[in-house]
Amino acid sequence: MIRYKLRTKVILYAVLIVLSVITLFPLLWAVSASLRTDKELFQYTVPFTYHTIIPVEPTFASYVQLFTQFNFLQPLVNTLVLVVILIPLGCLINSIAAFAFATFNFRLKNLLYAIVLASFMIPFEAIAMPLYNVVDGMGLVDTWAGLVLPAIASGLVLFLFTQFFKDIPPSLVEAGRIDGANLAQIFFRIIMPSSIPVFITAGLMIFMDQWNAYLWPLLVARSKNVQTIQIALSSFKMERQTLWSCMYAGTMVSALIPLSLFLPFQKYFVQGVISSGVKG
């Protein structure tokens, strides 16, 4: 184990703390600003004093306004519905395909798997416009299907499952076969329960992708009844330039759910991040 001199330790901690302040400042500032009225927010900006940072009279008014006056509940619920549909669907379809890739040998397997790998290296921005035309041609613009269908199959999630399933000992599948279980039973009763971590990671990846998605919902989900949270936030910013506290409150509402999932599941998040780089 490497040990540090006291002086080195002090310097390292100082650097770590300064960087933490830089990282956290915008978030803490947004929390503080969301709890003030616009008047108070502007009044104390210059000159810089204690009250520039700390609210004089903290209030939840802008949060209330956001939900009562600007109907933020709808996009919030929409986005929740979207992830509730997509997480099980995405996990199921990708994991079943991954199980086939990991356990069977069949003709064209390598070619088909190469297509999967190629698909996750294509940046979404590069296909967004033609994809819009595909979805438009199917008459799915401004529908739930338009948001859901293109997002179900994910090369990255499929790859993640395949890597995991490859490491499951074949004896586990064999044992199931000897007991007379069919393939579906083997998958749902043996493989799935022993792969819970990878399902959590995959679920989180799908969640993050959808919750923070911007370009696709911007193009395809324009009407209020399918609008997602990021788009609601962005159009609020463009339409109501002056309502700062509400904007801050909106960003907090949008950030709160991913943050509250991140802290308990950090391990799985990092796993998901790293595994996407394993191939690199």
Binding site: L16, A126, L215
Partner: protein, 289 residues
């Protein structure tokens, strides 16, 4: 019996069918369209779109802004993330907490990051000008200044991204055997020598991934431009990706849009080849020493 065997052979195909069909329809087919659409106007093959594009001053302006932005943003993010990873790889009490903090902005969307930072950058009521005034620096115009806006976007994207890229480097650093550092120290190697001669060559694979993925993400970055600057002030943040977005959805010119996206993909490929060569050179140098 025979039928049963044939049925059995079909099973893997049936299992991959839903996923594969969706990938082909929603990923592979659109990328093929992107690459072909710019050559296909009004039912015939033509180079007209490209000829017009290459004589278009707006395109070239956007092209150079994209290059300028990325020449700064990619090295900044990669170097900062690498240094962060070295830092949080230190064997200190509570280091896990710092790791969590630096990774935190990754969980927040670029939309949120853009809004919060754009309010902080505000000329009249922004907190940053207030902090600058506190240390005696006159107020800056940030996102509404044509010389500063692009660099403000670098700040926003880097604040959100560096912790994320740090995690890959950290995973690479964790794979390095500690005993290698020990022997380097016994040989009298200083910190910088150790990093450049041992650490960097040993995490080549991870570095390459970060470079490629970071390049892809940054070259295609457009959320802050679409949300805040709309390519301005005076076209100073009008990157190619935003120009492609506008071509398709404001001017309804799909051929131009896909030609621009094709240019972007070519930029990414060229940069990645360059990075690949650079890193390969590094490792050879390290091996010789």
């Amino acid at each position: 019996m025979n039928i049963d065997v044939r049925k059995r052979k079909m099973i893997p195909y049936l299992m991959i069918l839903p996923a594969l069909a969706l990938i082909l329809l929603f990923k592979i087919y659109p990328i093929a369209r992107t690459l072909l659409e710019s050559f296909w106007v009004g039912g015939s093959v033509t180079l007209k779109t490209w000829a017009t594009l290459l004589h278009d001053a707006t395109f070239w302006n956007a092209f150079w802004i994209t290059i300028k932005l990325n020449l700064v943003m990619i090295p900044v993010q990669v170097i900062v993330s690498f240094c962060l990873a070295l830092l949080v790889n230190a064997n200190l009490k509570g280091i896990g907490g710092f790791r969590t903090i630096y990774f935190l902005p990754f969980t927040i969307s670029l939309t949120v990051a853009t809004i919060v930072w754009s309010l902080m950058f505000n000329t009249n009521n922004g907190i940053l000008n207030s902090l600058l005034a506190f240390v005696g620096i006159p107020p800056q115009r940030f996102l509404v200044d044509k010389n500063q806006a692009l660099w403000c976007i670098v700040v926003i994207a880097s604040w959100k991204g560096c912790g994320y890229w740090m995690m890959f480097f950290l995973a690479g650093l964790k794979n390095i055997d500690v005993s290698i550092y020990e022997s380097a120290r016994i040989d009298g190697a200083g910190f910088l020598t150790t990093v450049s001669r041992i650490t960097i060559p040993l995490i080549k694979r991870v570095s390459l991934f970060v470079l490629v993925a970071n390049t892809t993400a940054n070259v295609l970055l457009f959320v802050p431009m679409q949300m805040v600057t709309q390519g301005g002030p005076q076209g100073s943040t009008n990157v190619l990706m935003y120009e492609a977005y506008k071509s398709a959805f404001k001017y309804a010119d799909r051929a131009r849009s896909s030609a621009i996206v094709t240019v972007l993909l070519m930029i990414i490929v060229v940069v990645c080849i360059f990075q690949f060569k650079l890193l390969q050179g590094k490792q050879d140098g390290g091996a010789e020493a």
